[in-house]
């Protein structure tokens, strides 16, 4: 699959909802071709930060860049079509077949071979197009739906993926399967990935960089090994301890 990887960068990003500060001045760099995982408790701001990159959240302060572009310049829909996205529930359109779902972004981009792109993406995530393209989302298992959502994120040719708990709703065995598929795609395609997960084991297995968030701020951002060896704060140490990855 034809992809082009670009890095992601946030600088001093602030987001407030009324009195509540969801992001209190966050800076983050995701190098091109690498995978960064955002971890932390509910309400720590990790999903808000992720959504700042495709402008599903508009920051009050700070800058957000995808590659060398400031995302606040230009059209939000153009930006979104250039970034792969998948979320926990899969978010497939229930009234579209799996094939049509996966072809969404190429179709939005006006591609003449949207259907082929969808079939290639389905094959890539382990859902042979011949078998699965014509099915309805409700006819898929949970793991198959997550794979289809992943295929949809890839089909437009985006080299950058934003994934919000993409392995969240799966049982343990299925999760391992999907994780492996994703890990090999990540390497094979050289994807730049920003991933939100509450599961530190997933983060430690996939990510080159793990970012621990707490109350709208970054507590520590380092490679998994560094985090293990040198937790920056007692909070990080405790979090790793509880998750059994310390």
């Amino acid at each position: 699959m034809d992809t082009q990887a670009t890095g992601l960068e946030a600088r001093g990003v602030v987001k407030r909802y009324g009195q509540v500060t969801a992001l209190g001045g966050v800076s983050l760099h995701v190098p091109a071709g690498s995978c960064t995982a955002l971890v932390g408790e509910s309400g720590s701001g990790k999903t808000t930060l992720l959504r700042a990159f495709n402008r599903m959240v508009e920051p009050d302060e700070g800058t957000v860049r995808v590659g060398d572009r400031d995302v606040s310049m230009g059209e939000a829909v153009t930006l979104r079509r250039s970034l792969g996205y998948a979320e926990q529930a899969g978010g497939l359109l229930p009234h579209w077949t799996v094939g049509r779902n996966v072809s969404l972004v190429p179709w939005l981009l006006g591609s003449t071979d949207a259907e082929d792109a969808a079939r290639r993406a389905l094959d890539l995530v382990g859902l042979p197009a011949d078998e699965y393209a014509g099915r309805w989302p409700r006819e898929l298992s949970g793991g198959q739906r997550q794979r289809a959502a992943l295929a949809r994120a890839l089909a437009g040719g985006a080299g950058t993926l934003l994934l919000d708990e993409p392995f969240g709703a799966l049982d343990a065995i299925t999760r391992v399967d999907v994780l492996r598929t994703f890990a090999s795609l990540q390497k094979e395609l050289g994807l730049t990935t920003l991933l939100v997960t509450h599961d530190l084991r997933v983060a430690f297995e996939l990510a080159d960089q793990v970012v621990v968030m707490r109350a709208g701020r970054i507590e520590q951002a380092d490679a998994p090994a560094t985090l293990r060896a040198e937790p920056a704060t007692p909070y990080v140490a405790e979090l790793l301890e509880k998750a059994g990855v310390a």
Binding site: V77, E87, L93, H95, W96, L104
Partner: protein, 542 residues
Amino acid sequence: MRGVARRGGGVGRLGGRARLPAGVAKLALVSGLALVSAGTPLIASAQVERPVVVASKPFAESFVLAEIFAQLLEARGFTVDRRPGLGATEIAFAALRQDQIDVYPEYTGTGLLAILGENPQGSGDDAFRRVAAVFRERWGLRWLPPLGFENTYAIAVRPGTADSLGLETLSDLAREGAALRAGLSPDFIGRADGLPGLRAAYGLFPGAVRALLQAVKYQALAEAEVDVIDGYATDGQIARYDLVVLEDDLDFFPPYDAAALVSARLALEQPAAVAALTELSGLIDEPAMREMNRRVEMDGADVAAVAAGALRALGLAGGGATGDVDAGARDDSLLRYLWERRATTLAETRRHLLLVLLSLGAGALVAIPLGLALERARRAAEGTIRAIGLLQTIPSIALLAFMIPLLGIGVTPAVTALFLYSLFPMVRNTYTGVRDADGSAVGSARALGMTELQLLRWVRLPLAAPVIMAGVRTAAVINVGTATLAAFIGAGGLGDPIVAGLALSDTQMILAGAIPAAVLAFVVDGLLGAAERAVSPKGLAG
């Protein structure tokens, strides 16, 4: 007892023949005027003759009187447009004031109490002079000299009740009747000159009171479901069931002399038509009226035939008009009756469908975009939807009555009222359907770069379509039912035979409207149910 029922007053409830002013349609008296300006019927005139619109209120006596007016006018060379069964005093009177109709039969007591809000005092002549003066001064309307009979309330009991309790007068009833059960017209229960006034004048009155429609009251009394009813003095049913009418010994009930009430426009434009109608003054007495009512209500005689017979007997018309021999009694089978009037039923059904489809189509054109807009402006949504829901709580007849000053009578106000009723289910379902469309699917599609318009077109609307169609379906079925009430404002449709059948105690006629209306509701519901399934996206469960 002077037993005359006052018809007239109440705001029309579907039921009783409650005193609603005579049906608007029948009496299209006025239209022929232009012809007669020289005083000679049938003299051609350069003016274009407007048909005289003769109306009645929805009960038998009003139908008969209006038909007498209409046939007399036709015999004098006028063209007549009949609008029988207009829904209530308020509706018929408003239509007359707006020059939507030209004449209908009304009762002096109704004019005083229900329209002027005055308490009648003095004799019947005093009452007539009072309404004649005030109506003319205030609205330019003319009360023609009374027809010759009075029709005030008649409080009636079974002979057995009268015997065992020794009841002859209302004072007797007040003294002895505490344990009796009364079945009274809804408007009688509420009017100052009805139950409240009766209680004040006579003291005690039966404590247990049920609201009963005119159509069922006599039967309920005969079958001892109730013991006391209010009727009208000229009701044919009083004779049929051999009922005892209690004497109004304190002269509580006001005079209810029947007379033609004529629009200002007819008086101005076609004085000859007014002159023709005046020929009837003083010619119809109480026994004659009761007999005509009996024939129409009990024997099932045709209203037109009864009216023609009356005119013939009075020497006012040569039996022409529609005066064939008494139409047959009603003992034919229902199926045969329905078959024989199939052409009429078809025309009524077409009109009914027209009312429903016009109002539903206009409603959908407004409600669905409004529901979508509200989804974009959710803060305004709940309040707006609740306000539209309030429309639903306005009783249909009241809403129709409100329409008259704005839109007159006929199809336009009926469609407008039905349009208003259709909004709520469609707005609510559109709003909630689009709002509740699969949040994760909508969110993901947006995050992948669909524009808001694309989201609406490809995601929200398709997912909401079954819910929206369900709203359309609800509105359609409501409208098929409510459209039967459109007959009260002269809009036609399947309500016509229902209103007329209720007025004439003719069950077959009621069924001739009710059965097709039910079938229509069933068919419309079925078709829209199929449409609902057709627009239901395939991938959804099922």
